[in-house]
């Protein structure tokens, strides 16, 4: 979902090219390997899937936009960077859960927090929460595709995971199994 910040309307980006190529190659392979029936079945399924997903995707994008403008990235950084301990892990999990956007927005934030003195285990919790129980992904992708029942089940069983991964990371660091400092030479690409 990168390259979406272009202001001057539509542009055919390199990512678009990759996906177009992937669709063409897989479509051709499907036609050749699996036959015409399979190809037509895929196309029919595709149309139905698109009709099912689009109204919810539109709602998801609007929700993403609203959250983006209701929660400022600076306030996220301030609260997370100054906290640690149990509170830090819980906070990081909560913030990761509501943090919108793709890896191109979250990793610059995580790197900035790291340089600002946030604990690596807190950032592990944050990233786990963002990927596993992220509301943005849940609303935009999971509910439209997998249905509410599945999304709720997966969300509930995944709730303890961010905290758990943060605790394991903290244990690994405390046992000196892994010890390191943030490296500032890896420049954030923000």
């Amino acid at each position: 979902m990168s390259d979406t910040k272009s202001k001057a309307g539509f542009r055919f980006t390199r990512t678009d090219m990759v996906f177009t190529g992937l669709a063409l190659v897989s479509g051709l392979a499907c036609l050749v390997v699996a036959g015409q029936d399979a190809f037509m079945r895929a196309v029919a399924g595709l149309v139905e899937l698109a009709l099912m997903v689009l109204p919810q995707l539109a709602a998801g994008l609007l929700i993403g936009g609203l959250i983006q403008h209701l929660v400022s990235r600076e306030s996220i950084a301030r609260v997370l960077g100054s906290q640690s301990g149990w509170r830090g892990l819980v906070l990081a999990s909560g913030i990761g859960m509501v943090c919108p956007g793709g890896p191109f927005t979250s990793f610059p934030l995580v790197h900035a927090l790291w340089l600002a003195g946030a604990d690596a285990s807190v950032l592990v919790s944050f990233l786990t929460a963002w990927t596993v129980i992220g509301l943005n992904r849940l609303l935009v992708w999971e509910i439209p595709f997998m249905g509410t029942d599945f999304a709720v089940l997966r969300f509930i069983v995944s709730l303890p995971l961010p905290l758990l991964s943060g605790l394991i990371a903290r244990w690994l660091l405390a046992k000196s199994i892994m010890r390191f400092e943030p490296s500032s030479q890896n420049g954030a690409r923000s």
């Binding site: 979902m1 390259d3 979406t4 272009s6 309307g9 055919f12 678009d16 996906f19 177009t20 992937l22 669709a23 897989s26 479509g27 392979a29 499907c30 699996a34 399979a38 399924g45 595709l46 139905e48 899937l49 099912m52 997903v53 919810q56 709602a59 929700i63 993403g64 936009g65 609203l66 403008h69 209701l70 890896p103 990793f107 995580v110 790197h111 790291w114 690596a120 285990s121 786990t128 990927t131 596993v132 609303l139 509910i143 595709f145 997998m146 249905g147 029942d149 599945f150 089940l153 997966r154 069983v157 995944s158 758990l164 991964s165 394991i168 990371a169 690994l172 892994m178 943030p182 690409r189």
Partner: protein, 175 residues
């Protein structure tokens, strides 16, 4: 499916009202523009990704997939699905259509939970494209080491919940 739609648009309405109260029409317009920009970026990519997902799913040996992570495969199926998830390429545009097709092909619900969690935490494409360049390989190693148990745990918890509650969660019949 209709409930998902109602839920989503109710949330849009609620957040919209909150925004109106806090930042007025300007906030609403800015949010709408953000959504519009995101949508513009997806116009080509999303249909192409959906098509690729549908075609790839036809090419996947679904019977093999269904047998190896089917509802009766239990813990072994959950472990296998956890690993397989890490190798699903691309972002949510590719992975969710693929997961749906695999699910409809006969995979078990706890196994799909493990698959999606495996994709979420391992996501080797994201590690290579974003995490390692920005955070360094040591951080990635720490995060992966701290996360490697999570997909099986999620799958096992889902197995427990679906067994205890006895509510069959099945795919919507798209086809």
């Amino acid at each position: 499916m209709i409930w998902s739609l109602v839920f989503m648009w109710t949330l849009v309405l609620a957040l919209g009202l909150l925004m109106l109260q806090r930042k007025g029409g300007e906030g609403l317009a800015a949010s709408g523009q953000y959504a519009g920009r995101q949508a513009t970026g997806l116009i080509i990519r999303l249909p192409m990704a959906l098509a690729a997902g549908a075609f790839l799913a036809e090419l996947l040996p679904e019977a093999v997939m269904a047998n190896s992570i089917g509802p009766d495969t239990g813990i072994a199926g959950i472990l296998l699905a956890s690993v397989l998830g890490g190798f699903i390429p691309g972002g949510p545009m590719i992975s969710f259509p693929m997961a749906l097709f695999i699910w409809q092909g006969g995979a078990g619900t706890p196994q799909i939970v493990a698959l999606m969690t495996g994709w979420s935490v391992f996501a080797f494409h994201r590690v290579l494209a974003y995490e390692t360049p920005m955070m360094g390989w040591r951080f990635s190693a720490l995060r992966l080491a701290a996360s490697c148990l999570l997909p099986p745990i999620a799958g096992l918890l889902a197995l427990g919940v679906t067994t205890l509650v006895d509510i069959p969660i099945t795919t919507t019949e798209v086809f």
